[in-house]
């Protein structure tokens, strides 16, 4: 075969690979995720309206405001701080599409680090997206990563020095939203996003901030509430009530005072809000997992993680049932609702009351998809995109 013909053949094959992978990456980064606003959503604002430094950037995310019929406290729920922990984002989706506040005010963020939703772990062969079955079809979501997209924030330093503590952290965590609080106005995109969130929390006089996460089963901080010391009483109350009444174990632990950049530490230190972080189990994140597939992400079934459990290497139990996404989302919705109820018992002068959001048992019984609204049946002006 003539070299020119051979080279052209290989070149065309290479071009084919480049185009197919390029189209996949391009579409994944720009996949539109519709949010059919529930009747409880009174307005949708942009994070950039609190800090012009991120206005118009990829992280100028939506803030969904749900005003109560009666006055009360203000609670903010953050989803998508780590987008590859999808139960947090999905739980906030259920609030944005269903919740109706009777007392107090709810601010929901579905993509706290929107840049992180546009990429998957480099070299990790993660699926770019996943779909939740609903009664009207499937709704597809970007999977995302733990860190901001390097296309949006680059280069990383040799060592990340957290501002303002000066603590040395892993270099890559300069793109980790949950290592950059309280942020700074002249910092990186991730630091600016944290600063904008802090500005929103301060200006809106938020009383409670809840940051929704998931954790690998080999990580000791799992199935728990991590609380700033000012949230001790509230977190204890929520933990005890959930464990007693809802049938799932939820621990409570303190935010370490010497570990900086995390929401449960810095939001509490740099605003008047009580800051809590909820962790649900996600076997998809475990280093010992088997195939990294959409099915594994949603079912949470993994024989290799189970094997690790049999050798006593896990901090949470796992069996053949795995940790289904419905279970993980249900834990989060119940924990948020219980926080509102417990807060109200402790602060009857500043109540919070939320209806129309399914709790743990109902999410497991009907599935997350049963509570996702069909965007095709919503008026155009009542649809937002993440």
């Amino acid at each position: 075969m003539a070299p020119i013909v051979r080279k052209s053949g290989f070149g065309i094959l290479g071009l084919l690979l480049l185009v197919t992978s390029g189209v996949s990456f391009y579409e994944s980064r720009r996949l539109a995720e519709p949010v059919a606003l529930g009747e409880g959503v009174s307005s949708v604002k942009k994070l950039g309206s609190y800090f012009s430094g991120i206005e118009g950037t990829v992280n100028d995310c939506n803030l969904y405001f749900l005003e109560g019929e009666e006055p009360g406290a203000t609670i903010c729920v953050l989803g998508g701080t780590h987008p590859e922990e999808p139960a947090g984002r999905l739980a906030t989706w259920l609030f944005a599409e269903n919740a109706v506040m009777k007392k107090g005010r709810l601010i929901v963020v579905l993509s706290a680090n929107r840049s992180g939703t546009t990429v998957t772990r480099l070299g990790g062969a993660y699926p770019p997206d996943f779909a939740i079955p609903t009664t009207w079809g499937e709704q597809t979501f970007r999977l995302g990563d733990r860190w901001s997209n390097p296309l949006d924030q680059w280069p990383d330093p040799e060592v990340y020095i957290h501002y303002p503590s000066g603590q040395y952290l892993a270099y890559v965590d300069i793109r980790n939203l949950n290592r950059c609080f309280p942020g700074r106005p002249n910092g990186t995109l991730t630091e600016q996003t944290c600063y904008a969130l802090m500005e929103m929390i301060r200006k809106e006089k938020v009383d409670i901030v809840i940051d929704l996460h998931e954790a690998e089963l080999q990580y000791p901080v799992i199935s728990t509430i991590v609380t700033h010391e000012r949230g001790q009483e509230l977190a204890t109350f929520v933990s005890m009530t959930l464990t007693d009444l809802e049938g799932f174990k939820m621990g409570m632990e303190f935010s370490p005072k010497n570990l900086h950049g995390l929401s449960h530490r810095e939001i509490g230190d740099y605003s008047d809000a009580v800051s809590l972080l909820f962790e649900a189990p996600e076997p998809f994140l475990d280093a010992t997992r088997g195939k990294t597939t959409r099915e594994q992400l949603l079912t949470g079934i993994d024989e290799f993680v189970m094997k690790a459990g049999k050798h006593g290497l896990l901090f949470e139990k796992i069996d053949e049932k795995g940790w289904h996404i419905d279970v993980r989302v249900g834990r989060h919705t119940s924990a948020v609702l219980q926080t509102m109820e417990s807060w109200t018992e402790m602060h009857p002068d500043k109540p919070l009351s939320c209806t129309n959001v399914p709790r743990y048992a109902e999410v497991i019984e009907k599935g997350v998809g049963a509570f996702l609204r069909n965007p095709n049946e919503s008026p155009r002006e009542r649809i937002a995109y993440e």
Binding site: P3, K7, G14, L18, S21, G22, F25, R29, L151, W154
Partner: protein, 51 residues
């Protein structure tokens, strides 16, 4: 400063991409042609800011 580093980075990516294409053209071994093309793909994806 970051902008300058970024510009230099993309110039380097472009330079390595050109070198790889040059090597594809010049080499006489088909195994190396395949190797260069496979190596070239992530460079081009980064150059076009796709991943």
């Amino acid at each position: 400063m970051d902008l300058i580093i970024t510009i230099i980075y993309y110039l380097l990516v472009a330079y390595v991409s050109v070198l790889l294409i040059y090597n594809v053209v010049k080499t006489k071994e088909w195994e190396k042609e395949v190797l260069y093309i496979i190596v070239l793909i992530p460079f081009l994806l980064r150059l076009f800011m796709l991943k």
